[in-house]
């Protein structure tokens, strides 16, 4: 798979050709006993060709990609998908097990801010040292020194040993030095969450102006909305392989789709609670009464609860809430406490349904939580808990098919879709 948009003609800054990286799990280095056991072979332990009993992990598998000048590439994927390994191979920290990596020009990799700061040295000394580690000459650092200090807002503390810095000051200095290395390729690994809010804003402003200046960059972040804003190419890595790559509008929906499938797969039956009333299962039905997991936005959904009781229960009050995953704070509720209804009596096994004729939710995975109150409405029979998950997806076609709006709004902001119009 090849990332290839923007300026096809320019020579690539980065080229990965079927790059794989393997790590050995378990003990990473031997002891003298191993050394004595097989001196000659053990001097080159990684080349040992005896049948080995170690377990291996392929952090990258057959990854091919090209980054050309002017491209801003984002990498998405779970923890352990190989994102950091990819950056390490790219920046030369580690060599691939197989495949070929070609990098043209200076790469500034912000894998960790302030790596290499020495606590006993002053901010001033550390600027020089860190700048040199990132590949600047002393002359270049001297020329940018004032600008670095100003960016980091550390004028007053520049001759203080950095061990007396707060963690925010430390990160600011680290970012300021890295931001001034003026690289051909800026690589940023999840380091933007540093410092206070105003400094974070400064970092974002810097990166925005950097990206706007037709520069080349590569970002790794869990914040997909930032990546959507910054990048013109996204690479989705999973278990060391490129699953998909292309413009964010192409990759992100596929990524979300996959994420939601995963979330749905965690579907668990409600925890069985000892008590007079138990919820045995929860299912979601469409208008025709067919059980499904995924519904188009704006469609009717019926939540069907199957219960058993150990004896007759008079007038229990059911409360259900539709929530964002994991939160338990309802976005939409249906409460017998509020509407005053209640089944006259439940006894034995039965089914209770709650129907929403139109659920105006935007596409993502939702959870249903519920509780059941005693007739006296002062204590619960079943406490507030997760009952199940369902998913809202876009219809493939029709007037509600996906628009061109930002995924940020559609995926993160207000999930309830009330009809509206604009006037301007």
């Amino acid at each position: 798979m090849v990332v290839d948009s923007a300026r096809g003609g320019a020579p690539p800054i980065v080229e990965f050709d079927r790059v794989s990286k393997r790590y050995r799990l378990g003990a990473s280095h031997g002891s003298l006993r191993d050394l004595v056991a097989g001196w000659g072979r053990r001097l080159t332990p990684w080349r040992a060709n005896e049948p080995d009993t170690h377990e291996y992990l392929w952090a990258l598998q057959d990854v091919s990609l090209t980054v050309r000048p002017g491209q801003v590439v984002g990498i998405v994927g779970h923890n352990g998908a190989g994102k950091t390994t990819l950056l390490k191979v790219l920046s030369g920290v580690t060599k691939p097990t197989s495949g070929h990596v070609a990098v043209e020009g200076r790469v500034a990799a912000l894998i960790e801010l302030g790596a290499g700061f020495h606590p006993d040295l002053t901010g001033r000394d550390n600027i020089y040292l860190n700048g040199a580690i990132l590949g600047l000459s002393r002359q270049e650092i001297k020329g940018r020194f004032n600008s670095i200090v100003e960016f980091a807002e550390l004028e007053k503390f520049i001759d203080t040993p950095v061990k007396r810095y707060s963690s925010g000051m430390y990160a600011r200095l680290g970012f300021a030095v890295a931001a001034h290395t003026d690289p051909d390729l800026l690589v940023v690994d999840e380091v933007l969450g540093v410092g206070d809010v105003s400094f974070q804003q400064k970092c974002f402003d810097f990166i925005h102006s950097y990206v706007a200046g037709d520069r080349t960059a590569l970002f790794v972040s869990h914040n997909l909305y930032v990546l959507e804003q910054l990048c013109n190419v996204l690479i989705w890595l999973d278990r060391g392989q490129i699953i998909r790559c292309g413009p964010p509008s192409d990759v992100l929906p596929a990524y979300f789709d996959y994420e939601e499938q995963r979330a749905l797969a965690q579907q668990t039956a409600p925890a069985p609670l000892d008590g007079a009333l138990r919820i045995e299962s929860v299912r979601f039905e469409d208008e025709a009464g067919v059980a499904r997991e995924t519904f188009p936005t704006g469609s009717a959904i019926t939540i069907a609860l199957e219960y058993t009781t150990t004896g007759p229960i008079r007038r229990p009050s059911f409360c259900l809430g539709i929530t964002n995953p994991g939160v338990g704070q309802p976005l939409i509720g249906a409460s017998m406490l509020a509407d005053g209804q209640a089944p006259p009596q439940l006894n034995g096994r039965g089914l209770l349904r709650c129907s929403f004729p139109c659920l105006p939710l935007l596409p993502r995975v939702y959870e249903v939580w519920g509780e059941i109150w005693h007739e006296d409405r002062t204590r619960t029979i079943v406490r507030w808990q997760r009952l199940g998950r369902f998913r809202i997806a876009y219809p493939e076609t029709g007037p509600d098919a996906p628009g061109t709006g930002s995924i940020r709004h559609l995926r993160a902001d207000a999930p309830i879709h009330a009809p509206y119009t604009w006037d301007y």
């Binding site: 280095h29 002891s31 920046s91 990799a109 960790e112 006993d120 040295l121 000459s137």
Partner: protein
């Protein structure tokens, strides 16, 4: 090899700054500061003078024993400090090695260069002693820079392969101080080379520190040039060690980040 040295040269500013860092950090927050660089060989010299010079009355080639011992201790202190401090540098700076690429040999080399700075500080005392004892100035003192270069090459030749090996086998860290201790007795520091039986000298002089220590004594204390055989052997052994050691270091470099 050529491209490695070219890459090292491109990073010369980093090497310089890292060396300054090593020097700066070494004596930060210590009262004596650089005085420690002087105190270490000085304390050993006093001890040796009392024990071996006065009690045992070892011969010292007709030179006052303190001067005899201190000259050798200067070179030895540099060597032993280089080896013990520089070998663990890769492991000690793991957050750098696993996060940022730069030629890794910069870390041990900077530590060796910082030890060289200590060596020069401690040399001031030798200079004072030379003046105090009214030793003659000789044209042969011009050999000194070359001897210093060889002693640095030797330190590099020992440190580079062992620093790389230490990444894979931490045992190295425990073995090295022991070996350095034994090595001192295999070098004419306490006693003169002339006490070593002629029959074992061919093997004895394979120790490259023999030629280096002997050369310092000849040039500074006796005003004569270094011995061709002893010093020549030191040069040859040091060069071989540094070439092989550097090649080994560079071939292992790519595995450092994975194994630390």
């Amino acid at each position: 090899m050529k491209q490695h040295i070219a890459e090292l040269y491109r990073h010369r500013d980093l090497l310089l700054l890292w060396t300054l860092r090593e020097i700066g950090v070494r004596y930060k927050q210590s009262l004596l500061g650089a005085g420690w660089a002087l105190l270490q060989p000085l304390a050993l010299m006093v001890t040796f003078t009392v024990v071996f010079g006065m009690f045992i009355q070892l011969p010292s080639d007709g030179v006052p024993y303190p001067l005899f011992a201190y000259t050798a201790l200067l070179a030895w202190t540099f060597f032993s400090a280089s080896v013990t401090l520089a070998i663990p540098t890769l492991v000690n700076n793991l957050n750098l090695v696993t996060k940022i690429y730069f030629p890794r040999e910069i870390l041990p080399i900077a530590t060796i260069l910082a030890s060289l700075a200590d060596f020069f500080v401690a040399s001031i005392l030798l200079l004072a002693a030379v003046l105090w004892y009214h030793l003659p100035w000789s044209i042969n003192l011009l050999w000194l820079p070359l001897i210093v270069v060889v002693q640095v090459l030797l330190a590099l030749g020992v440190v580079l392969p062992l620093a790389a090996l230490n990444v894979f086998y931490r045992d190295v860290r425990f073995v090295v101080p022991l070996v350095v201790q034994l090595w001192m007795y295999a070098t004419p520091i306490i006693y003169p080379l002339s006490l070593v039986p002629a029959s074992i000298r061919p093997f004895y002089s394979l120790n490259p520190m023999v030629g280096i220590v002997d050369s310092y004594r000849r040039v500074i204390l006796h005003g004569s040039p270094p011995s061709f055989e002893y010093f020549g052997l030191s040069v040859a052994v040091s060069l071989i060690l540094v070439l092989v050691g550097y090649a080994y270091f560079k071939s292992m470099e790519q595995y450092f980040a994975d194994l630390i």
